[in-house]
Amino acid sequence: MNLLLEILSIPLVQTILKIVFMIMLFAMPLGTLMTLMERKWSAMVQDRVGPNRANVGSFRGHGLAHIAADGLKSIFKEDTMPEGSDRFLYLIAPFFGLIAGVSVFAIVPIAAPIGSFTFQITDIEPGLLFIFAITSLSVYGAVLAGASSNSKFALLGGTRASAQMISYEVFMGLALMGIFMVYGSTRVSEIVDGQNAYWFGSLIPKWGILTQPLGFLLFTTALVAETKRAPFDAPEGESEIVAGYFLEYSGMRWSAFMLAEYVAIVGVAALVTTLFFGGYHVPWLHLWESAPEWLVRVLQFAKFTAFVVFFCWFQIQLRWTVPKFRFDQTMALGWKKLLPLSLANTVATAAVILIFV
């Protein structure tokens, strides 16, 4: 028992455990659940029943068995490779997006620290800039898949993806400048703690959405565009270029693209929760002074997870509600409307801080 505690107190062991927990028990399960959630919710939007046929014995669980069935199906499917494709790039391309999607969870805290133990894999100083750097790499998956497939449609999809993602990255960073200024840090833990303050005594929590409402809209738009989902799904463009950059893929590699998309959705939800909705902080919990420490942590984790699930649902709802943009509309929206807006937001925030604070 003592030996176990000793091993658990080694920082490296703690970090590995945190990584295993965040990825294997949080991001990946939520991501795989999302595949079913999306099919079920789209069915509800369109007044259908949705997938419910797969069964394990007599267990159907409203389509829950479909997750396992889909996984098995893609494992046993033939892994095709188009003629004249660039072998090496074609094989590695699907995993770029997955790595980028998972990396977001390296800096997201899920509960308040106990002593020196943090519920966060790492708290580096340029925390959010690290996230920008990593998400900007997810474009390589689409670009390499498009370039290596030896297919016109895939190439078009890859070109569109690269153009769209560079454009939306520009003001993704700019949209967060307001948050950096308001909370005075790029360190994620400090931004989260900054949102634990209140206006008017303890009436309204200083959440990011209240201090930076425009920043929230811009950042969420940019992140949704980065995941290449509707309404920004021109790189996949079903009605024009079949499936875009992953057109030629099949089997497990196709699933890797899909899983990357759904893990990215969970990542977006976690980031939005952390930056604009107080992260793990449960509002007004400090009023209950006699709360036991473990219960506080459990409540914080529950609040965080609830918000993450809500924003996952929000993105699904967005996809099945909003009509898609044409590609030139996507680019025009980014450069001509959202970029000036985020610049204006930065300047206005700076002016307000300079004059009133």
């Binding site: 660039d86 790039l89 580096i124 100083e125 340029p126 800039l129 690290f130 920008f132 750097a133 990593i134 900007s136 790499l137 474009v139 390589y140 670009v143 390499l144 498009g146 370039a147 290596s148 190439l155 890859g158 070109t159 690269s162 153009a163 993602m165 560079i166 990255e169 790029t186």
Partner: protein, 170 residues
């Protein structure tokens, strides 16, 4: 720590050679991205985390994606005409580069290499202020003129790129 430095240095050199020898420009570009990553890792070891992040963000995330974008727009199947070929004049170029390199290397390896007085920002001081805060302060005080000039350069580049790449309507 120092072992990792040599590891990343070796990988970055191999990948940089890859840029030189790969026939397919897309492979060259990827190899260059790998080099940038190794350099970012070395920056972290040299206590310049912010530079490392900016390196990945700007070079790997933006500039190289732009290169790949152009490569895909202009995709040519015939890469053989661009392959590495040697003739007399190029051999001469290699020789001159080699001489230059040896010259520089001997200067760097010189054990009598001396530096001036240490500056005002040792690692502890940087960590105390916060490297991002410190860079921000310096950019807007000591280096404010170059900062403004470089922002104008960026604006000019953006406008220039739009004008050049635009199709001329007759």
């Amino acid at each position: 720590m120092i072992v990792f430095f040599y590891l990343f240095a070796l990988i970055s050199l191999i990948l940089a050679l890859g840029v030189l020898v790969f026939k397919n420009p897309i492979h060259s570009a990827l190899s260059l991205v790998g080099t940038f990553f190794c350099l970012a890792a070395i920056y972290v070891m040299l206590n310049a985390e912010f530079v490392a992040v900016i390196q990945v963000l700007v070079y790997a995330g933006a500039i190289m994606v732009l290169f790949l974008f152009v490569l895909m727009l202009l995709s040519t199947k015939d890469n053989d005409q661009y392959a590495l070929k040697l003739n007399v004049s190029r051999g001469l170029a290699v020789a001159i580069t080699g001489v230059l390199m040896i010259q520089v290397l001997t200067a760097f390896m010189d054990p009598t290499l001396r530096f001036g007085e240490p500056g005002a920002y040792p690692v502890e001081r940087i960590q105390e202020i916060g490297s991002i805060a410190l860079i921000g302060q310096l950019l807007f005080t000591e280096f404010v003129l170059p900062f403004e000039v470089i922002s104008i350069l960026l604006l000019v580049a953006v406008i220039g790129a739009v004008i050049i790449a635009k199709r001329r309507v007759p």
